[in-house]
């Protein structure tokens, strides 16, 4: 493989990461908080923003598909539904609540100076490494519980072109969104310096998501890069173990890049490949985007007087989330901004698991992390 497609992927991913980090920081959109606060505080304001984000992304994806801009449709690394999607979703929900943010929120907060997010990120690496130890039996579980093989989306299940199901779902969501817009329920007044209305950020994020799919060939995803770091760290102490690991040797991405025509191959192993070229700059861009955003509004500070209990739970939540993101497989951003917009069956199951997971995580949070005094 030449380095040119890698440079292209790296440049695009870095730009998309910068935009994502800045948009999430300024708008206070937190994907973990959306699900957590639904149960913990009965708040639905940001859930409405998520509906807008997924709907706008779905319409953009479908327009792009009809325009012939998405030759990889459904996108790679999306599989037939399995019970693992639900189990992974539940665990991911628990982990993201305990960690104080999802895989992307952790990077955004880290960029803005959160010490707890540094612990959560370390946990994500540890959880990813842990998955390597259960990969073989878990893969067998996925194989045994996969149903509707060969069908990854609702349109495929129905045997119809995607346009009609996507428009039907968007229309249903659109009725709700119009009602909320008329009631002013999509507006969020905040005294924070440089605050960006979440509905505006959601629309911009849907464009970022589209650009990722069109230019990279995949929607945004990060967690395989965490596995790569985990594999690299593990290889420092147990190189033979990592070299023999079926998980780290796997190369699940093997497609032709639709923009450059170059082969894109990559996996969770600690090596430089297409996954590394896509996900490392994206993750770095998110941290840097949030950092620059926080710096510009004069809020870039790291506070170290965090209760040790919270740091310990942030790490634990990261471990659970890192493990779950491989078990599910993949994370909430992949499913929410990539899978749901094309009505992926595995993404629907993942979100179905995410809801009880967030509820359970909220119960654990109030019992153990911030207990009533």
């Amino acid at each position: 493989m030449t380095t040119e497609p890698h440079l292209f992927l790296m440049a695009v991913s870095l730009a998309l990461g910068l935009a994502t980090g800045a948009l999430l920081h300024r708008s206070d959109i937190c994907f973990a908080g959306i699900f957590r606060d639904l149960f913990l505080f009965r708040r639905t304001d940001m859930l409405r923003i998520l509906v807008l984000l997924v709907t706008a992304t779905a319409l953009l994806f479908e327009l792009a598909r009809l325009a012939g801009l998405l030759p990889l449709y459904p996108f790679p690394l999306l599989y037939a539904p399995t019970a693992a999607n639900v189990v992974g979703g539940v665990l991911f929900g628990v982990g993201m609540v305990l960690a104080g943010g999802c895989v992307v929120g952790t990077l955004v907060r880290l960029g803005a100076g959160s010490l707890a997010s540094l612990f959560a990120l370390a946990g994500l690496f540890a959880g990813s490494a842990l998955y390597g130890e259960i990969h073989i039996p878990w893969k067998a579980f996925i194989g045994a519980t996969t149903f509707l093989p060969g069908r990854t989306t609702v349109p495929q299940l129905l045997g119809v072109a995607p346009t009609l199901p996507v428009l039907a779902a968007a229309l249903a969501a659109g009725v709700l969104l119009a009602r909320w817009a008329r009631a002013g329920a999509l507006h969020r007044a905040s005294p924070a310096t440089g605050h960006l209305q979440p509905w505006k950020a959601a629309l911009l994020l849907s464009v970022v998501s589209l650009l990722s799919y069109v230019l990279i060939g995949l929607p945004m995803g990060i967690t395989t890069s965490y596995a790569k770091i985990a594999g690299w760290l593990e290889s420092l102490v147990a190189p033979a173990h990592v070299a023999a690991s079926a998980f780290f040797r796997g190369v699940p991405l093997d497609v032709v890049h639709p923009v450059t025509g170059a082969p894109l191959r990559g996996g969770p192993g600690p090596r430089f490949d297409a996954i590394a070229a896509i996900q490392f700059p994206l993750a770095a861009g998110i941290v840097l985007g949030a950092l620059l955003s926080a710096r510009l509004v004069g809020e870039l500070r790291m506070h170290v007087n965090v209760p040790p209990r919270q740091l310990a739970w942030a790490f634990s939540g990261g471990v659970i989330m890192g493990l779950a993101s491989r078990m599910a497989p993949t994370c909430n951003i992949w499913h929410l901004l990539g899978g749901l917009p094309i009505l992926s069956l595995s993404s629907i199951l993942f979100v179905a698991g995410l809801l009880p997971g967030a509820w359970l995580g909220g119960r654990m949070l109030t019992a153990w992390v911030v207990p009533a005094r």
Partner: protein
Amino acid sequence: MELLERDIRGQICPSTLLVALQEINRHQARLRDGSLTLRLLTDNRDCLVTIPESARNMGYAAEVARVDAHYAIEIRRA
């Protein structure tokens, strides 16, 4: 009037809101009779919406002010 300050900067979400609600409930008698103002220092931007909104829903007055690199939320009798 006494001013009670709590520094909750750097705490994970949603601890900031949970701690704020705990403090409001713990001092509700003095907050309601007007002898106490609760001042929370936070760097959590989301809580600049959720804490004042929760406090107002509980019948208190809430104000947010920018202080250096963070924010101060003051909660007192309405």
